[in-house]
């Protein structure tokens, strides 16, 4: 009996160790003095200094951040419209094709997406001379296409959870659909938009395969530079970069978690007060 009760907690703890041990080892060895990443030779922050002096990495990081910002913003706009169409327009010609096209990028292997978009861009350039060459623009378009699918799914899920009677009430009171959308629907689904923006941003910042297909000379993104360095072996600078990324993500997650918890508490309190008002 005792053994049974122990199995799940032990398996769970081991699972979490499995998930986090590699990340922790990356962080520890980013502070290692030795260039041999896995042999400890004393504490040092020299690799962070080297990282800040590495122009190739800094330049790629700058390109990646700009693409990720542009991508996330465009993906939120397009993805919100797509999610809204799926959730609210239950009947229109070509709906099945539309939902299929929104969902498919979620499971599509990246090599296929990357190759197909590259061939499209080449064909487009031959046909109408745009986009001239490949680089920043083509990577951004490619990223928007797969990120908007994630945003659409999140927004659509939130719209289905939402109480439609509020929109219905506004409609009864004579508000026009566009006004309802901007004044009622959009503020309610705002947290989903923030989550979608962040997810789209990370997806873009993380993508190696699609960017490699559709990029051109002079537009290497951060994952492309990391990949070419990592292929040659481990490098302490990459450990330092990884540590910075993990720190940013962890801080972001903690802030998001605290905000969500506070929002939840406020809503609970408002509900309690509303109930008390009704009772009185």
């Amino acid at each position: 009996m005792n053994r049974r009760r122990l199995f799940v907690p032990v398996a769970m703890s081991l699972g979490f160790v499995f998930l986090y041990a590699p990340i922790v080892s990356l962080i520890i060895f980013s502070f290692n003095k030795s260039k041999l990443v896995t042999v400890w030779a004393g504490f040092s922050t020299q690799w962070y200094g080297e990282l800040l002096r590495n122009d190739q990495i800094l330049q790629a990081a700058w390109i990646s951040l700009r693409i990720a910002t542009l991508n996330a913003t465009a993906a939120v706009v397009l993805g919100t419209i797509a999610g809204f169409v799926i959730a609210r327009f239950r009947r229109f010609r070509g709906r099945t094709l539309f939902t299929g096209m929104v969902m498919a990028p979620l499971v599509m292997p990246e090599v296929i997406t990357g190759l197909s978009l590259l061939l499209l861009f080449v064909a487009m350039e031959a046909a109408f001379g745009w986009p001239a060459g490949r680089g920043f623009m083509t990577i951004t378009i490619a990223h928007i296409t797969f990120s908007m699918a994630y945003v659409a799914v999140i927004v659509q899920s939130r719209l289905t959870d939402m109480d439609e009677s509020i929109e219905e009430a506004a409609l009864d009171l004579g508000a026009r659909p566009a006004k309802i959308f901007f004044q009622i629907t959009l503020p309610i689904i705002a947290p989903a938009l923030v989550a979608g923006w962040l997810l789209a941003f990370t997806l873009s910042l993380d993508d190696l395969v699609i960017a490699s297909f559709v990029s051109g000379p002079g537009s290497s993104t951060l994952p492309m530079v990391i990949f070419s360095k990592v292929r040659l072996g481990v490098s302490p600078e990459i450990n330092a970069l990884a540590t910075i990324l993990v720190a940013v993500v962890a801080i972001g997650t903690i802030i998001a978690g605290l905000l969500l918890a506070r929002q939840h508490r406020n809503r609970e309190r408002d509900m309690q007060m509303a109930k008390a008002d009704i009772a009185a």
Partner: protein, 334 residues
């Protein structure tokens, strides 16, 4: 890596299937929304649907048509490096020339067959291990105190948000000849010579299980969380031992979650490139890597396109199975 979801994502996918099912069975239909739909008719509605529709047609669907077209072309040393399928003869006759040679080449060369089979094998075995590792975690989270569940779920999702490439890279430092595991085992005197773990199939399995584990845990959790605990109480009342109750009640009821998680791991893992490229050896054949090399090293665009079309055909069945499962799960919920 193609996919990083969140619980919302899994929920969303099943929601969409859900609405589809409801639409078919005619369970839904609010009068007010019918009114709204009427008011939306016209230019506003068309442009709201049209914007994302045109984007997806242009950048998702049409590219596949182009891949299909180029897979039927021939390689030539030019820019672009493939022949055109059609050309005009004397400005009057359209001459269309299709070439199935690339597909014939794929079928005849055993490299592609073994790459396909190996990818399916690696993806399937990794999926199984993801399930074995992920199930107890999902089960443990679903049975944890409600206030702890959020924290535990966040711990599962957090690695998701850090770079995929860097998480795979972390394993190089752990597995290589003078890496952490070998150093530790040698220091403890358990082994004398370092184990060879890098550039093996083992490292690829480990990398896939590690990277895709959250995709297995999240749908499993979503499913196990909803399990009606009174069923287990009933089983216990009727004298069923806990282990037996697990295999006769919990496990069968969690099958939709198992299937959803397995597909979310299996489908992208078949086409995986980064993990075999970084952790695998030169003989670790996976189709994503073959496509990459065909394109970047051999610069053979038509053959790369044919490989992509063949990979897509291979994945159509699991993708359809996945959507069918989501639709059924949604039906069971409503």
């Amino acid at each position: 890596m193609s996919t990083r979801g969140a619980p919302a994502l899994t929920r969303g996918v099943s929601r969409i299937a859900n609405t589809a099912v409801k639409r078919i069975s005619g369970l839904r239909g609010s009068v007010v929304w019918a009114g709204l739909r009427r008011r939306f008719k016209g230019l506003g509605r068309t442009s709201v649907i049209g914007i994302p529709y045109i984007w997806l047609l242009a950048f998702f669907l049409i590219p596949f048509v182009i891949v299909l077209k180029i897979s039927l072309a021939e390689t030539q040393i030019a820019q672009p490096p493939y022949t055109s399928l059609w050309y005009w003869v004397e400005h009057k006759y359209l001459n269309i020339r299709m070439n199935l040679g690339n597909y014939q080449y794929l079928i005849q060369d055993s490299l592609y067959w073994s790459a396909y089979l190996n990818s399916v094998k690696i993806a399937a075995v990794s999926t199984l291990f993801c399930l074995l590792v992920g199930y107890p975690i999902a089960y443990g989270i679903a049975r944890a105190r409600p206030d702890r569940r959020i924290l535990l779920l966040m711990l599962v999702i957090l690695p998701f948000w850090t770079s995929f490439l860097i998480r795979v890279y972390a394993w190089i430092g752990i597995l290589k000849t003078n890496g952490l595991i070998n150093n530790l085992l040698m220091a403890l005197g358990i082994i004398d010579t370092p184990l060879v773990m890098m550039q093996t199939d083992f490292a690829v399995y480990l990398g896939i299980v590690y990277s895709y584990l959250p995709f297995m845990i999240l749908p499993l959790y979503a499913n196990l969380e909803k399990l009606d605990l009174t069923l287990l109480e009933a089983a216990a009342d009727l004298g069923c031992r806990p282990a037996k109750a697990f295999f006769r009640v919990t496990l069968p009821l969690s099958l939709p979650g198992i299937l959803a998680g397995s597909m979310l791991v299996f489908i992208p893992a078949v086409g995986e490139f980064v993990i075999p490229a970084l952790l695998g050896g030169p003989d670790t054949l996976m189709i994503g890597r073959v496509l990459w090399d065909e394109f970047f090293s051999n610069r053979d665009w038509p053959v790369a396109s044919a490989v992509a079309i063949a990979l897509l055909l291979l994945l159509v069945i699991p993708i359809v199975l996945f959507q069918y499962n989501q639709a059924r799960a949604a039906e069971a919920n409503s």
